[in-house]
């Protein structure tokens, strides 16, 4: 047996060669900073003589006693909740509806997608002026309708909704396109069979379409959680964390600790805690993905597909059986 045959090298080693640049990039620019972050979080950083003094878990203890950080955790979870209420299900609904449209599907898909192409920061600045309470568009519309004007970003009760709302328009289009692509992968025959069985619109959506795209939904949910925990640029641009700390997110607070208070070690610790939160939530979500109740049956709809195949097979056999006596006759 040849140990170094070209075929064997091609089969066993060449793929690794192609992966090397990506692995090096990930290791260097993702995993190395993450590991370094963990390491530095145990130090009181001295920026002139890195990493500084070792202080063990002091930064972590301080974090969980810091009311402002706890407030930023609370805010981040509230942002997550709002994101789920406002931004998460709307693209699914839109994709489902557009998927049902017979004509102009491409046009509608393009129209929803275009805002996603605009730079996020530019959109945040634009929305900041839309929400401007003195001369912004939002209050202009309310005034035109003789409705009471609002303080929008200046109102602690509204600020999180105002920050998340543009996400529906900016990021929603992109998410919608992903769901739509997944929905278009659902075999048409399944819908046709269901129609033959007398299934209505909602039955087909909830019994066929949604269960089949559930793995995509779960992945998008993981990404949505990661996005919320990394919220920084839009909050920084629109409110800077105000008013009264009502929109201060974990990452923004870590940023402030680094660049306002020069507490670099503490700031890294806060980032590590954020990372751990995201990691735990992602693990929970991944494990829920395997839950039959949440994934549309075992294996993301496999059972359902199997059932439909069986129904089809039974119908074909029934039809065959019905034709056989006629032939004999």
């Amino acid at each position: 047996m040849k140990i170094f045959s070209w075929d064997r090298i091609k089969r066993d080693y060449l793929p690794w060669l192609f992966l090397v640049p990506a692995i090096i990039s990930f290791a260097l620019f993702k995993y190395y900073p993450i590991i370094l972050g963990f390491f530095v979080s145990f130090f009181k950083v001295n920026i002139v003589d890195l990493p500084g003094d070792f202080i063990g878990f002091d930064n972590y203890i301080r974090a969980f006693k810091d009311p402002d950080f706890l407030n930023s955790i609370k805010n981040t979870f509230q942002f997550l909740l709002i994101s789920l209420v406002l931004n998460f299900w709307v693209p699914i609904l839109l994709a489902t509806l557009i998927n049902e449209v017979r004509r102009g599907k491409t046009f509608m898909r393009t129209m929803y997608f275009i805002p996603a192409v605009a730079p996020g920061i530019a959109m945040s600045v634009l929305w900041k002026y839309i929400w401007q309470p003195d001369y912004g568009l939002a209050n202009f519309i309310l005034k035109s309708l003789n409705l009471p004007v609002q303080k929008w970003l200046n109102d602690p009760a509204l600020v999180k909704w105002c920050i998340q709302f543009p996400g529906l328009i900016i990021g929603g289009g992109l998410t919608m396109v992903i769901y739509l692509a997944a929905l278009q992968d659902v075999p048409e025959e399944q819908h046709e069979s269901a129609l033959l069985d007398g299934a209505g619109f909602f039955t087909r959506i909830f019994r066929i379409s949604l269960p089949q795209i559930m793995p995509i939904v779960t992945t998008m949910l993981v990404l949505a959680v990661i996005d919320v925990f990394n919220m920084f640029d839009n909050v920084q641009v629109m409110t800077g964390g105000g008013p009264i700390g009502a929109s201060e997110t974990m990452v923004l607070y870590a940023y402030d600790q680094a660049y306002t208070f020069l507490n670099y070690g503490y700031a890294i610790t806060l980032s590590v805690i954020t990372f751990i939160c995201v990691f735990i939530l992602t693990c929970i979500q991944m494990s829920l993905e395997n839950n039959p109740l949440l994934s549309g049956g075992k294996g993301g709809g496999k059972e359902q597909r199997k059932a439909i195949r069986k129904i089809k097979k039974d119908r074909a056999e029934a039809a065959k059986a019905a034709q056989a006596p006629a032939k004999e006759g």
Binding site: I47, V48, G242, Y259, T260, F261
Partner: protein
């Protein structure tokens, strides 16, 4: 520091002049590099990032003097005592002494020298005020009259606001002279290297209540308290605001031109006082500092460069001449105490009223507090003040409670910098 790509043509010309002078005089120094701030960062971020990357600037002219007490303690700037105590210009009394106290520690160790002292006051937009039917020359100088005056100027449908508040993270900057104008202090020196908090005193509470009144009683401010400093300055430039915080020369010339405005439409006054005797101005300024690990040889060159750029009479005269031609000459007092008037004499293109206004403001200007963790204090006070400004029916007791809580937090978090007076 190299200007950004979008800097005005005038600023670039001024920078080119400075760079040429340095390269001409220090042609034997082969490796002078000029640093540019990354877009979106501020000077503190930029400085710290460069230090962390091991590529920190040997000479830096952007740290405000209020940062020095904090940075001398955390070791991010070099001690330069030998240069300062043996400095002929200073020993001859020719160095501007206004911020000296902030630049050395109690043992007499020096860490910085002045680069650009500045003054700030009640910036006004003449056109906006006249559109409101008033004359800026009649601006009242007591709180109550000023509030009523601004209320009369305000028309939110235009929109035009009598006074534009900074409610974002820059809030404490203009808030400080208002506290002074109530006869209070933001911080009080304990004489042992620590400071006690003053903004929660009766005068501090008076100030917070007055700011609250500007919003709710007089209704003369904008509703948006979260404006960035740029938006805030835009309010002044565009004419949405009649009065604000600043200096006419801080307004971007290109932006003024874009809105068809001219420098002549702007001016500056001292802040009104709680009583007529309490009118006040504000002084700040940046400094020259050196890298904490700079070698003796590097520091020698740096010292010569900073002396050229801030203290060499021939160079300064040429620079002021050029800046006047470019419309850039500012009212910042020269670092050379003996050349303050000389600098102003070059400003022949200033609007007629500026010189008198700058002189009046200079006469009542006080330097910004400079204790260790002053910047932390400024950041800590933002949230409680936003609460005060945003709550219509807040009582004096509630304001006191908020300010007391903020003060306690500062005492707890920074025990080396803040200590209650005994």
């Amino acid at each position: 520091m190299v200007p950004q790509d979008d800097a005005s043509e005038s600023s670039l010309k001024s920078f080119d002049f400075t760079k040429a002078k340095v390269e001409e005089k220090f042609s034997d120094v082969a490796d002078i590099e000029w640093t540019r701030m990354a877009p979106g960062t501020d000077y503190r971020q930029q400085y710290d990032k460069l230090l962390m990357s091991g590529d920190g600037p040997t000479l830096w002219n952007s740290l405000p003097f209020v940062d020095i007490q904090t940075r001398m303690r955390n070791g991010t700037i070099a001690e330069i005592t030998d240069y300062v105590v043996n400095w002929d210009l200073r020993n001859e009394g020719k160095v501007n002494p206004s911020i000296e106290e902030a630049l050395h520690d109690d043992e007499g160790r020096w860490y910085a020298v002045p680069f650009a002292p500045y003054i700030m006051g009640l910036l006004y937009n003449r056109t906006a005020i006249e559109a409101g039917g008033k004359d800026p020359a009649d601006t009242p100088n007591t709180w109550e009259e000023f509030g009523e005056w601004c209320a009369e100027l305000t028309d939110k449908e235009v929109p035009r606001f009598g006074y534009t508040l900074l409610g974002s993270d820059y809030l404490a900057w203009p808030y400080t002279p208002w506290v002074w104008s109530a006869g209070g202090e933001m911080v009080i020196n304990n004489g042992d290297g620590t400071y006690s908090i003053g903004f929660n005193s009766e005068e501090g509470i008076d100030t917070a209540m007055y700011m609250h009144d500007l919003v709710w009683k007089y209704g003369c401010t904008q509703t948006d308290l979260l404006e960035s400093y740029d938006d805030y300055m835009s309010n002044m430039t565009i004419g949405y605001a009649c009065y604000g915080w600043g200096l006419p020369t801080s307004l971007n010339i290109d932006k003024l031109a874009a809105y068809g405005a001219t420098q002549d439409e702007f001016g500056v006054l001292p802040f009104p006082g709680k009583t007529e005797d309490d009118v006040i101005g504000f002084a700040g300024g940046e400094t020259w500092t050196m890298h904490p690990n700079a070698t003796k040889e590097q520091m020698d060159v740096c010292w010569d460069i900073l002396n050229l750029l801030s203290y060499d009479e021939d160079y300064l005269r040429e620079l002021w001449q050029l800046e006047n031609e470019l419309g850039l000459i500012d009212p910042k007092p020269s670092c050379r105490q003996d050349l303050v008037e000389v600098k102003y004499s070059y400003a022949t293109n200033w609007p007629e009223h500026w010189k008198d206004e700058f002189a009046a403001l200079n006469a009542v200007a006080r330097p910004e507090p400079f204790c260790a963790e002053w910047n932390s204090l400024k950041d800590y006070i933002v949230a409680p003040m936003q609460q005060v400004l945003a709550t219509e029916n807040i009582t004096r007791e509630e304001v006191k409670e908020l300010l007391d809580e903020c003060a306690e937090k500062l005492y707890t978090d920074f025990p080396d910098a803040f200590k209650k007076a005994e």
